[in-house]
């Protein structure tokens, strides 16, 4: 390396820290001041709201992305979101999904659906997505009244609960330590599959009691699925193939630890 190049290299090495601080400081000023300028305005949200309201039909699902903007989304469109829809098991039964998003985020519920329309309103984007909805033969939460309970499931009931920090309308069973609670639908109308989700409700009991919960699914008295959920598992999906027609379906929730709030929802689908 020539002396000139060595000199330049030395110069560069000597300049880098000062230049880095200088450039970063200038960038930081502009980047910080630019943050509010990039925030979706009230007018953007109002325009997005108007588009959704104009096209919304009963039975549509509205979702917001990223998840943290949900309160702002519900402020604008919350009256179109029934509590049962907000606490849905999953998005499979919805034919149309309105995704209202900012910052280029995508909602997990809209994944895999066809984009029917997409329009930006400043910082807010509205996409209408369509999918072939799952046809539900039996919604076990809605059909709770038809279930026969045994053991600790006597106090079980459908309820909107926090599971995995998200709202879920589910059947909550609190089995005693080392025991179980059992719910049986004597003649549930089954389709080709049974899809469910299970998780542990309540962040504080999840913190204080660390043991897992277990949910067993029996069809016609035979065990067909076992799902074990831990404190960090969230809302865990399970699915089994079923023979269409009426059948006895039993869910057994059990745990070794006390105060384990096992919540589940399930649907028999065509």
């Amino acid at each position: 390396m020539s002396a000139r190049w060595r000199g330049l290299a030395r110069l560069a090495a000597g300049m880098v820290p000062a230049l880095a601080i200088l450039v970063l400081a200038m960038w930081e000023v502009f980047a910080t001041l630019a943050v509010p300028a990039r925030v979706a305005t009230e007018a953007d949200w109002a325009a997005a709201e108007a588009e959704v309201r104009a096209g919304w039909k009963a039975g549509d699902l509205i979702v917001f992305a990223p998840r943290w903007v949900d309160p702002v989304g519900r402020l604008h469109l919350g009256d179109l979101i029934p509590i049962d829809v907000a606490g849905r098991m999953d998005a499979a039964r919805f034919a149309r999904i309105w995704e209202v998003s900012i910052r280029g985020a995508r909602a997990a519920d809209a994944r895999g659906a066809r984009v029917a329309s997409s329009r930006s309103h400043g910082g807010v984007k509205v996409r209408l997505l369509e999918q072939t909805p799952a046809r539900v033969r039996t919604d076990f939460v809605a059909a709770f009244a038809a279930a026969r309970s045994e053991g600790a499931s006597a106090g079980a009931s459908p309820i909107l609960e926090e599971v995995g920090f998200a709202p879920h309308r589910c059947i909550r069973i609190e089995p005693p330590a080392g025991g179980s609670g059992k719910l049986t639908w004597p003649a549930a109308d089954l389709g080709s599959k049974l899809v469910g989700h299970v998780g542990l409700a309540d962040v504080f009991t999840r913190r204080d009691i660390r043991g897992p919960g277990k949910l067993e699914l029996l069809i016609g008295g035979k065990p067909v699925a076992t799902t074990i959920v831990g404190v960090d598992s969230g809302w865990v999906r399970f699915e089994v193939a079923t023979t269409p027609g009426p059948a006895e379906v039993t869910f057994i929730a059990s745990a070794t630890d006390p105060r384990r709030l096992i919540c589940f929802a399930a649907e028999a689908r065509e």
Partner: protein, 595 residues
């Protein structure tokens, strides 16, 4: 006869003047900013206990009889349960909050009650900024000192904490004061050592993490005490090697092992005495709860913190409430909350001192200030790398580490500017301005102005929701939310919806105030909230009896939304407070029944 001061005295006067100016700037900037900050859950508790503690001392000095009995002390300072009379936290700051309220609000009427409670923290933060300046100036020069002082003031999260009647800014200040006093005491002198001990005692009386302080100071002390011995032994071996074999060893010298063992005890024993005796003594004097059953009460205090419940805290998209926690929480959180330019300057400063250490051209090697700063950072933040220390509260828990980072930032920024000018001047000899004697100063001024401006923009933009703010590297508050960083804690942002409630809440509406429930009465007393909007109570019962409901958004507080949905029958809030688009608080209103 000339009366002009000597250059040394003049320099001291300038430094004193600058320290005072920085302190005043800090004091009045934070004082002004805190008016818009909400009341933190913890400080709302300290207000009440502070008033009780202050009353105790006032009565004691007035000679009210019977106050030194165990029963009287217990009634104000202790109790059976671990949190009775807030005995889980040492009393210094709470006492000062109470005395400040008594003096500046009740007696003099200079401030409102909340501001009066916050004045001691604001003052200690001002002291911290001044001390950072003086400490850095004393070793690395005035330019580094001014830069370090200003960058210490302009930290978004620390600036916010500096305006609260809590312990986090005070412990950062007293940790630094103890370290600076210790550094001064290394020169010798009983008074300096005594000051170090007193500062340590005040730190102990402020927050329990002061117990970590002696670890860093102890390791540093061992190094500076043993270093002369190491040099001595090295010189001795060199002398022997030069003299050749057969030369007898120096007479009457203790064996090396004995000299090493004795060195720490004989180096600056006053420091050891100060930290071991004066510090604890100050703690006991300031805390009447320790005036009897001292060891049991100390044990209870420490046990409370060693077995502290793990609060919920969101970090990188996950809710954490149980160990093992990620080892990198302190590192990543610091990288995303301290201004980027400050971080870059601090990294440069760290590089500079490491390079100097490798080349054995360290500043003040006998007292090793750079090592002291590095150890302080490691000890203050170290527990959070273990995976078992509670991480809730994030930056406030390792707050004592950050001023030392700013010291490095001052060192790094000035060194970077000087290096840039020196290299440029060597390479571009025709550019005479680079060789001008004031060129390095001008370069430092430009670079420091930019870094300080960047820090100021971050800091003032973050107010009054600094607990939800993240730096430009994260992409601000929305970037922090995308990364799944904690939204906020202590319920401070509830303050932001009070104007909405003032206008829109129906007369006599009961409000589920969520995490702001302890602050609710204080907001009313401050005139920030209508008196006809009482708090509706806790959890399900509170929601059920409420007409309006607040949810202060944190991941684990989602359950409060769902509680309200169930009870109100709607998922739609009527108002959402946001910061740069990020939801902080939702307000729900119970729908009127259909006619």
């Amino acid at each position: 006869m000339s009366t002009s001061p000597s250059p040394r005295r003049r320099s001291r006067l300038i430094n004193a003047g600058l320290a005072l100016a920085l302190a005043l700037l800090s004091f009045f900037t934070v004082l002004r900013a805190q008016h818009s900050q909400g009341i933190a859950r913890d400080e709302a508790q300290y207000f009440g206990f502070g008033a009780r503690y202050a009353r105790y001392w006032v009565d004691l000095f007035r000679g009210v009889p019977g106050l030194r009995t165990a029963a009287a002390i217990t009634a104000t300072w202790g109790g059976r349960a671990p949190t009775d009379n807030n005995r889980e936290h040492p009393p210094l700051m709470k006492t000062l909050f109470g005395l400040s309220e008594l003096a500046f609000h009740q007696k003099l009427g200079w401030t409102d009650a909340v501001t009066a409670n916050r004045l001691p923290t604001i003052a200690l933060n001002a002291l911290l900024v001044a001390l950072v300046f003086l400490f850095t100036t004393g070793i690395w020069g005035r330019a580094a000192g001014v830069t370090a002082g200003l960058l210490t003031l302009l930290l978004p999260r620390a600036f916010f904490h500096a305006g609260l009647a809590c312990f986090d800014a005070p412990i950062a200040a007293l940790w630094f004061a103890t370290t600076a006093a210790y550094h001064r005491a290394l020169r010798g002198g009983v008074l300096a050592a005594l000051l170090c001990g007193v500062c340590f005692g005040l730190a102990l009386a402020t927050k329990h993490n002061a117990f970590l302080l002696p670890i860093g100071l102890g390791l540093h002390y061992l190094w500076v005490a043993l270093r002369p011995e190491i040099l001595h032994q090295r010189a001795r071996r060199a002398a022997q090697a030069a003299a050749g074999p057969g030369v007898p060893a120096l007479a009457r010298e203790l064996p090396p092992a004995a000299r090493f063992a004795l060195a720490p005890l004989t180096f600056r024993p006053a420091i050891i005495v100060a930290l071991a005796l004066v510090g604890p003594l100050v703690l006991i004097i300031l805390w009447p709860w320790l005036w009897f059953d001292t060891s049991a009460h100390l044990r209870d205090w420490l046990r409370f913190h060693l077995t502290h419940v793990h609060y919920n805290f969101e970090y990188l998209g996950q809710n954490w409430n149980h160990p093992r926690f990620p080892w990198h929480v302190a590192l990543v959180t610091t990288l995303l909350t301290v201004p980027v330019a400050t971080l870059a300057a601090a990294a440069t400063g760290l590089g500079v001192v490491i390079r100097r250490a490798i080349r054995r051209v360290t500043d003040d090697p006998a007292r090793a200030p750079a090592l002291l700063c590095a150890l302080s950072i490691m000890v203050a933040a170290g527990p959070f790398f273990m995976g078992s220390t509670p991480i809730f509260g994030a930056e406030k828990h390792w707050a004592p580490a950050i001023p030392f980072l700013c010291v490095f930032a001052g060192v790094g920024l000035t060194a970077a500017a000087r290096a840039a000018i020196a290299r440029s001047a060597a390479l571009l000899p025709r550019a005479r301005f680079l060789a001008h004697r004031h060129a390095p100063t001008a370069a430092i001024a430009v670079l420091a102005t930019l870094a300080v401006t960047a820090a100021a923009v971050e800091t003032f933009h973050a107010q009054p929701y600094a607990l939800s703010s993240y730096n430009a590297l994260a992409g601000g508050a929305p970037g922090g939310a995308d990364l799944g960083m904690n939204r906020q804690f202590w319920g401070v942002s509830a303050r932001g919806v009070l104007p909405w409630l003032d206008v829109h809440a129906p007369p006599g509406a009961r409000v589920y105030s969520h995490d702001a429930n302890i602050a609710w009465g204080h907001y009313m007393a401050q005139g920030l909230l209508r008196h006809d909007l009482p708090d509706a109570g806790h959890e399900e019962g509170g929601v059920a009896s409420s007409d309006l409901a607040l949810v202060i958004h944190e991941l684990h507080f989602n359950r409060h939304d769902y509680m309200i949905w169930r009870n109100y029958g709607t998922v739609r809030p009527v108002h959402v407070l946001t910061f740069d688009g990020v939801p902080l608080v939702s307000v729900y209103q119970r729908p009127r029944p259909s006619p």
